[in-house]
């Protein structure tokens, strides 16, 4: 296999990282090493199992989210996500058992039990998620037993989430969260297909966390074509609604990285088929609405879907066109959490005339990388679990004008004179549906075409004055 280091030599590259980076069209293989453990000292941008589990479960609004572990894990995740609620605000608190040295030595089970008692008493919740962290995994607290006893004592559901940080990465956390959700939705007497009670035109919407109200936007679209959303996993969801999940007749799934496992299990246990959809970008949104209507095989629904697509597209097209004119020919680099997001971003960038020259994810799966490879242009750098030094190198070599990423990547891009798009869970404007498509284009325009670069790219000469053609041109 011709690896990157021979394709583009660089003595800073860590040897073990070579198999996780490829340049499309410049290698015989199109296989990328992914889903592997991060290499020590590589300054991986990845988060942990607990982080993945928290991302998925956090939007359950009326649950007590209790982190069993030392304080840090809870401090760094207090209300950092933009999931909105139409009801309870309980989920926005950060509860921790705040384990101290003694608890680590003598075990934290008693403290956990008391913490649950205290919180349930105070907040009268019907549902508690107890997240395990690394330390708990090592000291061997029996989470199951404590949760079970607490559930019985209070007559509510107390669900342990096995999210010890060192047993894998963020995707293991997604799975732990899905397991917790499966326990939550299981009806008394065990899971079984509910063919009779099934609601006819009702779907569960998987993998939308209602960031800045995104799930509400999609719910409205679906309502307008005659589809009821039974419950969203997990944006603006609550205990009661989640319990009804087995009654839907279809699972539509947006973020597959976090939800594919849940969809698969629900198909087996409750006989609910699932369908992949995406509401990011004009093209995907229209295609998804059409596919949902086709699933229900309902001419009226199809007609309404076409009507909605036409109306909404007409409303946003002119503005998006304006941005497209300014942006066409620019180059983007993508580094995001999951493969689904990366794939939709490539498509969204095409809609506004931008080419993607680098794409990577923290936890993309093999089939997602295959898709990324298929839809990328020749010469695109594709990489898994990148670190700042690789991001720096490839943004510069590939001449990116723009990076899409999270909080940690933003300052790096700015320092390099590269524009930036936040595609993170703390965003405060929706990127889904038609309104999201305009927001996206506007945000790209506002950063790529900002006048500040006129000043900030010239300073100091150095790199930019050296006439390096690979650098972003103004």
């Amino acid at each position: 296999m011709i690896n990157v280091s021979t394709a583009v030599p660089n003595d800073n590259l860590i040897v073990e990282r070579q198999s996780s980076i490829l340049v499309k069209g410049r290698q015989r293989k199109n296989q990328l090493k992914c889903d592997a453990e991060s290499i020590a000292g590589c300054v991986s941008q990845r988060a942990c199992v607990y982080c993945g589990a928290r991302v998925v479960l956090n939007p359950v609004t009326d649950a007590i989210h209790l982190v069993h572990g030392p304080i840090g894990c809870a401090s760094y995740t207090w209300d950092i996500r933009g999931s909105l609620s139409s009801g309870s605000e309980l989920y926005r608190n950060s509860f921790s058992t705040d384990l101290k040295e003694n608890d680590v030595i003598f075990g934290g089970e008693k403290k956990l039990a008391r913490a649950i008692d205290e919180l349930v008493e105070k907040y009268k919740a019907e549902l508690v998620f107890v997240y395990s962290t690394c330390v708990v995994g090592v000291i061997g607290d029996d989470l199951e037993a404590v949760c079970k006893a607490a559930a019985q004592k209070h007559g509510i559901q107390v669900i342990p989430v096995q999210s010890s940080g060192f047993i894998g990465n963020k995707s293991a956390g997604y799975r732990a969260a899905c397991d917790a959700l499966l326990r939550l939705i299981e009806p008394p007497g065990g899971p079984r297909p509910l063919n009779n009670g099934r609601l006819v035109k009702s779907v569960n919407y998987l993998g939308d966390f209602n960031l800045a109200g995104e799930a509400w936007i999609i719910k409205d679209y679906l309502k307008r074509i005659g589809v009821e959303v039974n419950v969203v996993f997990t944006g603006d969801s609550n205990y009661r609604d989640l319990k009804k999940a087995p009654e839907a007749s279809l699972n539509i799934m947006q973020c597959a990285g976090s939800m594919a496992y849940l969809a698969r299990r629900m198909e087996v246990l409750y006989g609910i088929p699932s369908m992949r959809i995406s509401f990011l970008g004009l093209e995907d949104t229209a295609a998804s609405l059409r596919r949902i209507a086709a699933f229900f095989d309902d001419p009226e629904m199809m007609r309404r879907a076409e009507e909605l697509i036409e109306q909404e597209t007409a409303a946003v097209r002119p503005e998006i066109e304006r941005y497209r004119e300014k942006l066409s020919g620019k180059k983007a680099a993508i580094y995001v959490g999951g493969g689904f997001k990366a794939i939709s971003l490539i498509k969204q960038f095409r809609e506004i005339g931008i080419d993607v020259v680098m794409v990577g994810t923290q936890t993309g799966r093999e089939e997602e990388y295959q898709t990324l490879h298929d839809i990328s242009d020749d010469g695109t750098v594709i990489l898994d679990d990148a670190n700042p030094s690789e991001l720096e190198r490839f943004m510069i070599e590939q001449g990116a004008h723009l990076l899409v990423g999270g909080v940690k990547e933003r300052p790096l891009a700015y320092k390099l004179g590269v524009a930036f798009i936040d595609h993170n869970h703390d965003r405060k404007h929706p990127l889904s549906g038609y309104v999201g498509a305009v927001n996206f284009a506007r945000e790209v325009y506002s950063t790529v075409c900002s006048p500040v670069w006129k000043y900030a790219r010239d300073v100091g000469g150095g790199l930019y004055a050296a006439g390096n053609k690979a650098l972003p041109e103004r």
């Binding site: 991986s44 509860f95 940080g165 320092k415």
Partner: protein, 488 residues
Amino acid sequence: MPRETKHYRNVNENPCNMCMPMGGILPFKGIEDAMVIIHGSQGCSTYMRRHIAEHYNEPIDVGSSSLNEKGTIYGGSQNLFQALDNIRKVYKPRLIGILTSCLAETIGEDVEGIARDYLKQRGLDDFPLVAVSTPGYGGTHSEGYWLAVKKTVVALARPTEKHDGINVIVPNLSPADIREIKRILELMDIKYTLLPDISETLDRPIARPYTKIPPGGTKVEAIRRMPGAAATIQFGITVEENVSPGRYLQSQFGVPLYNLPVPMGVEATDMFVGLLAGLAGGSVPKTLELERGRLLDCMVDSHKYNAQGRGAVFGDPELVYAVVRTCAENGLYPAVVATGSGNTGLEDLLEPVLADCPGEVRFHNETDFAQIRTTCRETGVNIAIGHSDGKYLTEKEGIPLARMGFPIHDRVGGQRLLSVGYTGTTMFLDRITNTLLEYKHKNYRAAMYRKFYRNTGIEERGHTSLMGQAFGSEECPQLIPVLRGELR
């Protein structure tokens, strides 16, 4: 000053502090050409990087030994070796700090031992590797910060010839604050080694070429020579002896230690400037005198506004002390003094400062925001001063927050907030006074209406609904303190 203290409990609701290794990262970001590695699981270091990056808006590269299940069972030295190799290869640092996370400590890793083995095996006898044991469950970020500074001094300081420079050891202040302290030192013609110096590294100008480790920071060579200094000034009066770098330099090398409060407010800045004048045998330059005069002018201009404040001050103990003291100088007495740290010295230290405080002051150590919120409500606090997690108090209780300290995540410019020295104090005071004024202007019409007009009984004629439209409903958080009748 009647006082009341509380500790306690089984559950922390909305933490007021971060963990020890996170605090340990910061000093290493203030040493020239240094890198830092967290020995533990990947997730911790990613979270901490995010937390720090969001405050400074700077790239924060921190390695991790990415301990996995295997490392957890058989020990993680292999992982740490690999991490050190890779960090040296990519970043080419001249010093590496190693911090531990809870995981590494729980499985009993001996980082200092591993660090020694590494140096021996790689034949790197002279390479400064500073290993610091910082279990997240062992203390807050404040303790982690001081311990990392101390361990750095312990690792590098060597008996040296006496010289006429002085050591200046600083707590976690903003880069702008550090720049101000340096400016004062330079104005007074003092030769100094300031540790740790994040003034350039964590508030980095746009410049080319981009380097993976930001330029600036305290030079390793200068740290080595700290034992020869004429004196140490340490802004760390809340720092416990066992983690005090200044105390170490004093007991090991006989460097006289002046442990001062952060130079905020007239008194504390006078102490600092006065000490410098004494040490240098010089007088105070005209510029500083003018700045001092301007601060006094600001204090007089604003004193009646400030007198209306009932404050809740929270955060790192060192900063809490400095802020409370500055506020007290201005007649803005705190009702709540809180820190997530277990540091219990604050109360005693603040006793003389708050001697004239007419109201009750409640102290909370090892606290959380649920508790701070309750106490704020009980004591009628109308201004919160501290890091941005205090936005919770604004959202839930309508108390305005003057942001200061670390972290500030919901506003830009935390790294540029200037609060020390005469000039910095003036800017700090203006921020505080303006927060009070903005709050007052927003609320006083509604407050007066509710307090006096209502009592006339005329409101039955439908003015209540008018009120609702004009000033927001009863639930509007801005009005909650008004409804409680706490606004004068």
